[in-house]
Structure formats: structure tokens, C-alpha cells
């Protein structure tokens, strides 16, 4: 909403600007509860962890560039390999998807001024940052997690891993999980209650469906992990016997608990990417998504069925045939919703008039890599095939194609796509396209040969391998590919950084997007929209009359809500107007609570139980102070 016509409208906007102005300076950033600022914080922090995980990957690939290489000994390698996995999953891909993209865009897409719980939103960020620092402290002290990202017991038990490595892993992930749980609750309540009046559930963008599904998945997936990690720490530090066979425990119980979390986790990783893809495709093909209701249903089904397949990570453990067959069947069924989405995207591309700009190129790369990774995934649902190829480089290829190719490519495309909205400037298109081709080639070169070398019998998680196995040339190719990929990623960062300062300035809607973030200025004002937008379809930005009506509403004062820090709440299904919500502006309590929580985890790590308890009490005190500030109704 760039131009304001009447003096009445101007007065209202001025009032909004005054009420919603963010506190300036560093203190402003430390106490912010604004979803856009929190999204930016998440973005830079998760990109920093992406770089760290990338360095770890390059070290691993360089060690494996030739047989019997001596760059990294086994202890260092095991830490690099484990921390790479932990970083990429918990400190990069989830935070950037949910914390950066989700936080920044969901309130804008639903026509709201913030998330339902702005202070808890800030808390999620500070907890994430603290948990990442916690885990990396272990690495920098030479005690990084080293038993693999899934840390099977007994290897991860005190007897076989006596140092603090696994404690940094277990406590760090519990810490990190609180952040994600809080974020999930926030997204669900926001998407259910804060949609602009008129945006009934069937008019909600597909991006929001993906985030709704992912949030429900997080709610139900994280607790089994927390139980597993809790049991592990109790065994390690207090001598309990959950996983200790000699005293009645069971080693396989860890695997069950871990994978009951771990499988939904991979759908948690990919669902936001589906959301990004379903945002970019309509914009660049200039048409609505084919079979929208089927795609929305598919996004939800994937999250749901994902809870019923976890044993397919355990096909080689000697469980009974009937168990294996049931889970194999479920693992094949879950392919179907993904197939529906893939075909809907491809059909939309074919029936529209696609403009192959950089964001769409990354989505095409995503489609190809998701298909490749999905097809090898289907093969793993064939039990005997899995029993040969699990724990080889074939599975490393599979999951890197679905995680890197299919979850990260939309993120990279999304960075380009929403860059003009966040910065108000356009990136350099030619460089963008080059960066795509480098990243695409690098990804293909790094991960495709892994299928072959796995089929030639190379196991995973090996710090070296002998010559003469037929593996050496492929490993060399993969390592070269990793450097090509790194250069592509570097070019993306360079393009965006330079363009942030020197890019051509753009208006609110450079792409002709369909969703409401394109209705407001680039970057959006602190209050997002001067008027809560009118919504009558699922492609709100393409309804020109509604957007023109918004300008008139501004003069009338209809849904401007400028008397306080306000946004409307609506009913869950039909988004009928329900009440005005008063939002908190800034607060010192989220960062304080994260610091107190860090104290709890630090002293649990050190084994000072009482001091940890004191910090726990401090957390409760901070929570009490937090809730003393009651949002006032207008």
C-alpha cells in the first residue's frame, strides 16, 4: 500500500507507525517480538550454522577424496560426520524453514500483524541460538558429538563413549527441541486464529497448509525424541538401565523411540519446502495450482502417514517378518501423496506460461532431485533391497537428494523469491541463474555417484576406505562435486549480499504474486498492513477489486486498528471476525529466559544438579515476571 490518498488515511498511517515503531539499536534487536525481525535473526543464525555444517561436510569429503587418506583421524572424522548431521538438521534446515521463512511470511500471508504469541516467538529464537552455541561449545572443546546423528546405543552409552561428547548431543537436542515445540504451538494458533476475516480455511495459501502440517508433526514427533534423550542421559549420568541389556534394558528401544521421532522429522524437513514450491510455481507460471484441494490434502496426509513408517529404518535388525511387511506397506503408501504433489507441480508448469527466472529454476531442480530421492526411497521400501543397501552410500545418496536436493533447493529459491520483499531491492538475475547451475551441477556431481559406490558395497560412516575396491574414482568425483556445490552456494550469498546494497529498488509486487505479502510495501512496514486485507479467495493478490477496496477501507478506518498494538482474531474454520488482540511490543523476558535455560543445561552437562535446579527456579521466576505484563484490551 504505497500511496495514501486522503489526510484521514495519512493520519491513521502515522498513528500506526508510531504505535508499531520498533525500539532502535542493539537493544531493539535483543528485545524484539516482531515476527519479521525474529525471522531475520533466524535467517542469519541458521545460515551461519549452514556454513559450519558445510565446512564439516567439506572436511569429510576432503578426507574421503582418496583411499587411506590422512587428513582427519577417526576421532576427528567421527565428530565432523556427526556434527555435520546434527547441525544441518537441527541448526540449519528446521530453523531456516520454520524460524526464518515461516516466521517472516505466515503472518503476512494470512493478513495479520504478528504471530499469536510474539514473546514466545522471540523465545523460540533465543533458545535456538543458545542450543546451537551449547552444541558447538562441545565441538570447539574437542568433545563434539561423535556417535552419529542417531547415536545408537550401546555405542552412545557411558561405557563406550565416556567423554562429554554424547552429553553435549543429548542435552543440546533437548534444549533445541523446546525452541521447536514453542514455534510449532505458535504457528498452529496463529494459523487457526489470526487469519484475516474472510480467509476461511479453504482460502488459505498452500504455504500455510504446509506450515500447519509441519507444526502438528513437530508437536507429536518431538516428545519421543525427548524421552529417548532423557533415558540416555539418565543411563549415562545417573546409572539407570533403560538401554542396558545386562540389567533388563533393551538396546533396540532406543532405535524405536529415536525413529518414531526421526521419520516424521524428515517430513518436517521437507514440508516447508513443499510450501515454498507451491508459492513460487503459481507466481511464475501465472496460473493457479492444479488440483489445489488435492495438494493441500496431500501435504497434510504426508505429515500424518509419516508417523506410521518408522521401522523401515530398522529392517536389518532382525524384527519379525510380519512387522517388516506392515511397515514396508505403509512406507509405500506414503509415496502416493508425494506423487500427487509432484504431478500437480509438473502439470501446473506445463499448463501455465512459466517464466524460468532463478526462483523457478531452483524449483525445477527441486522437482528433479525430489523425484530422484523419492525413487531411491521407494526402493528402500522393498525389504530385501533395504537389507542389502541400508548403511551404505546408497542411502547416503538417497537422503542427501531428499534433504539437500528437495528441502534446501526450495529454500535457496525462496531466498531469491522473497529477497525483493524483505530488502526492497532485486537481486542480479544472471548471477542468480549461474548460481543455480553451479549448485545443481555440484549437487548432482556430489551425490549421484554415491548411489553407484553404495551399490559397489561401500558402507557409510567410514573415515577411510582401501584402494582397489572400485570406490576411489567415485569418491574423487563426489569430493570435486562438493567443491562445485560450495562455489554455487557462495555465489548465492555473494549475489544476495551485494544486491542488498546495490540492487535495483522494487515496489511491493515485482513478481505478480498471489499471496498477501505482496500487498504491502517492500520491505513491509512494522505494522505489516495499514488495513487488515479483505479476502475472498485463495489467491488474494489476484483479486484486484479486493485490493482496491483495501485503499478505501483505510480512509474509512475499517479494520485499521490503529488505537493500539492490535490485530484481529477470527474463528478457526470460517475466519469470521471474533475479537481484537492486543499484542506485546518488545520485552526483555524472552532472551532472559533463554539465558536462564542455558544455565540449566550447562550445569546439567557439568553434573552440578543443584545449581541446575537453581537455574530452573530462575526460569520460573522469569516466567512469572513475563506474565505480569498483561496485554490490555482497547
Amino acid at each position: 500500500m504505497a500511496t495514501v490518498a486522503s489526510p484521514e488515511a495519512a493520519r491513521r498511517v502515522q498513528r500506526l507507525e508510531r504505535v508499531w515503531r520498533e525500539r532502535p539499536g542493539l537493544l531493539g534487536w535483543l528485545t524484539t517480538c516482531d515476527h519479521k525481525r525474529i525471522g531475520i535473526l533466524y535467517l542469519f543464525t541458521s545460515l551461519a550454522f549452514f556454513a559450519a555444517g558445510g565446512v564439516e561436510a567439506l572436511l569429510v569429503r576432503t578426507q574421503l577424496i582418496r583411499p587411506d587418506n590422512g587428513l582427519l583421524g577417526p576421532e576427528k572424522f567421527d565428530q565432523m560426520m556427526t556434527t555435520h548431521g546434527v547441525t544441518m538438521i537441527f541448526l540449519f534446515v528446521i530453523p531456516i524453514s520454520i524460524g526464518a521463512f515461516g516466521n517472516y511470511l505466515v503472518p503476512l500471508m494470512i493478513g495479520s500483524r504478528d504471530m499469536a504469541f510474539p514473546r514466545m516467538n522471540a523465545l523460540s529464537y533465543w533458545l535456538f541460538l543458545a542450543s546451537g552455541i551449547f552444541i558447538y561449545t562441545g565441538l570447539f572443546l574437542g568433545h563434539g558429538p561423535n556417535a552419529g546423528w542417531f547415536d545408537y546405543v550401546p555405542l552412545g552409552s557411558k561405557q563406550y563413549d565416556p567423554g562429554p561428547n554424547v552429553d553435549f548431543y543429548a542435552l543440546g537436542l533437548i534444549f533445541n527441541g523446546v525452541s521447536s515445540t514453542a514455534a510449532a504451538i505458535n504457528f498452529i494458533v496463529t494459523i487457526f486464529k489470526l487469519r484475516a476475516p474472510g480467509m476461511s480455511l479453504n482460502r488459505m495459501p498452500l504455504f500455510c497448509y504446509a506450515f500447519l502440517a509441519v507444526s502438528f508433526a513437530l508437536i507429536f514427533a518431538l516428545p519421543p525424541l525427548n524421552v529417548a534423550l532423557g533415558f540416555l542421559e539418565l543411563d549415562r549420568r545417573l546409572g539407570f538401565h533403560f538401554f542396558d541389556v545386562a540389567h533388563g534394558g533393551d538396546a533396540l528401544m532406543w532405535q524405536h523411540l529415536f525413529w518414531i521421532f526421526g521419520h516424521p522429522e524428515v517430513y518436517i524437513i521437507i514440508l516447508p519446502a513443499f510450501g515454498i514450491a507451491t508459492s513460487i510455481i503459481p507466481t511464475f507460471t501465472r496460473r493457479k495450482m492444479v488440483a489445489f484441494p488435492l495438494v493441500a490434502l496431500a501435504e497434510i496426509l504426508v505429515a500424518f502417514i509419516g508417523f506410521g513408517v518408522w521401522v523401515h529404518h530398522m529392517f536389518a535388525t532382525g524384527l519379525s517378518s510380519i512387522t517388516l511387511v506392515y511397515f514396508a506397506a505403509a512406507s509405500l503408501i506414503i509415496v502416493v501423496p508425494s506423487g500427487i504433489q509432484l504431478f500437480a507441480w509438473i502439470t501446473t508448469l506445463n499448463t501455465g506460461r512459466p517464466e524460468f527466472k532463478t526462483p523457478l529454476l531452483f524449483i525445477c531442480g527441486f522437482i528433479i532431485f525430489f523425484l530422484l530421492g523419492g525413487l531411491s526411497g521407494v526402493m528402500f521400501a522393498a525389504i530385501p533391497f533395504d537389507q542389502q543397501l541400508t548403511d551404505t552410500y546408497f542411502v547416503v545418496a538417497h537422503f542427501h537428494f531428499v534433504i539437500f536436493g528437495a528441502a534446501v533447493f526450495p529454500i535457496l529459491g525462496g531466498l531469491y523469491y522473497w529477497f525483493p520483499k524483505v530488502t526492497g531491492r532485486m537481486y542480479h538475475e544472471r548471477t542468480g541463474q549461474l548460481s543455480f547451475w553451479l549448485a545443481f551441477t555440484g549437487t548432482a556431481l556430489t551425490f549421484f555417484p554415491m548411489h553407484i559406490v553404495g551399490l559397489l558395497g561401500m558402507p557409510r560412516r567410514v573415515y577411510t576406505y582401501p584402494g582397489g575396491m572400485g570406490w576411489s574414482d567415485y569418491n574423487l568425483l563426489e569430493s570435486i562435486g562438493a567443491y562445485v556445490l560450495a562455489s554455487g552456494l557462495f555465489l548465492i550469498v555473494a549475489n544476495l549480499l551485494v544486491s542488498a546494497f546495490r540492487g535495483v529498488r522494487v515496489g511491493p509486487d515485482p513478481w505478480g504474486g498471489a499471496t498477501l505479502e505482496w500487498a504491502t510495501s517492500s520491505p513491509p512496514p512494522d505494522y505489516n498492513f495499514p488495513v487488515i486485507p479483505k479476502v475472498t479467495s485463495a489467491y488474494a493478490m489476484w483479486d484486484r477489486e479486493d485490493r482496491e477496496e483495501d485503499a478505501r477501507k483505510l480512509t474509512r478506518g475499517d479494520l485499521v486498528l490503529e488505537r493500539g498494538h492490535e490485530t484481529p482474531a477470527s474463528t478457526v474454520l470460517d475466519a469470521d471476525w471474533d475479537e481484537i488482540l492486543e499484542m506485546p511490543s518488545d520485552s526483555p523476558w524472552p532472551i532472559t529466559l533463554a539465558a536462564a535455560a542455558a544455565g540449566v543445561f550447562a550445569f546439567l552437562l557439568l553434573g552440578h544438579w543443584l545449581v541446575a535446579g537453581v537455574f530452573g527456579g530462575l526460569c520460573l521466576a522469569v516466567l512469572a515476571a513475563w506474565h505480569r505484563q498483561e496485554p490490555q484490551l482497547a
Binding site: 508437536i219 540389567h247 533388563g248 528401544m253 475479537e579 484490551l633
Partner: protein
Amino acid sequence: MTDTTRTAAASRRSLPNGVWGIALFIATEATLFGSLIASYFYLRFKHAGWPLGGIEPPKPALPLAITGALVLAIVPMFLASAAARRGSVGATARFVITALVVQAGYLVVQIVLFADDLSKFKPTTNAYGSVYFTLLGVDHFHVLIGILLSLWLLSRLATGLTNYRVVATRVISWYWYFASTVAVAVTLTQLSSSL
């Protein structure tokens, strides 16, 4: 309580955000307890004899009785929530205190039983001890948190009722509906080898 507060509480058609929030939090905690209980039974069915190591199964009478009392304390919490929505701060506080007396009594008895169990076997004795004490410990911790929440609520109610505190009363009531119900599941699991 101001008119605007009463109007807001009365005119709202959907659950307030806070209640949605606690409902989702309850979903995570229920899944947590589900995983703990599933682990208990997973370990149990790995072994022919249970409890392991000749440990005596717990006596059911007292745990069942006090858990029953905890469940009954749902009634005053429900009434507190209704009183808050009506705008009656005195009644709200009285109902919360009534429930609190039962809930605190429950926790005290459970702690005594816990200590008594500890004198007979330890979580470090074997896997039965580990899962038994962990399951109970996590449950009692949830009751303790509930008690702290109720105390905090009473301190806020002491200075009157606002829309925020009405929602807070509902939220904390929901927490207690969950904590009391899950205590039933935990108690039945704990006693599954005696019943």
C-alpha cells in the same frame, strides 16, 4: 471486572488463543507420557517375570485412592473456570484453593510413597526400577508444576479479575484436567503388575 472484559469473554465465539496454546502444549505432554508408558510396556513384554529382580509389585489401594481424589479435584477447577467467566473473582479463588488442597495432599502422599519405594529398590537396580521411578517422577513433577501454576494464579487473582486472568484461569484449569487424567494412566501403568 470491567464491562469490556465481560463483553470480550461473553462475545468471543472461538476458544481464546491461550486455551488453544495450552491444548497444544497438552498434546505434546500427552505424547511424552504416551512414549513413557509405551516404553514401560515395551520393557515389560521383553521379560517373562515382571517386576524384574524379585522386586515386589506396588500395592494398589493407596495410589488408586489418591489418584481418584486428584481426578475429583477436576470439579472445583471446572467451577473455577466458570466462575471466572461469570466475573466472580471470590468464587474463582475459593474453587482454586479447594482444588489446590486436594492436589497438594495428593503430591505429599505420592512423595511419601516414592520415598518408601526408594528404600526398597532404586532406579539403578535394574530396568524396572529405572522406568518405574522415571515414569512416576515425571508425573509428580507435572503435578508440582500445576501447583505452582495455581499458586501463581491465586496471587494474580488477589488484585482482581481482568480478561487476561479469566483466560489464565481457563488455561490452568485445562492444565489440571490433563494432569489429573494422565495421572490415572500413569497410576494404572504403575500398578499394571499388581492389578
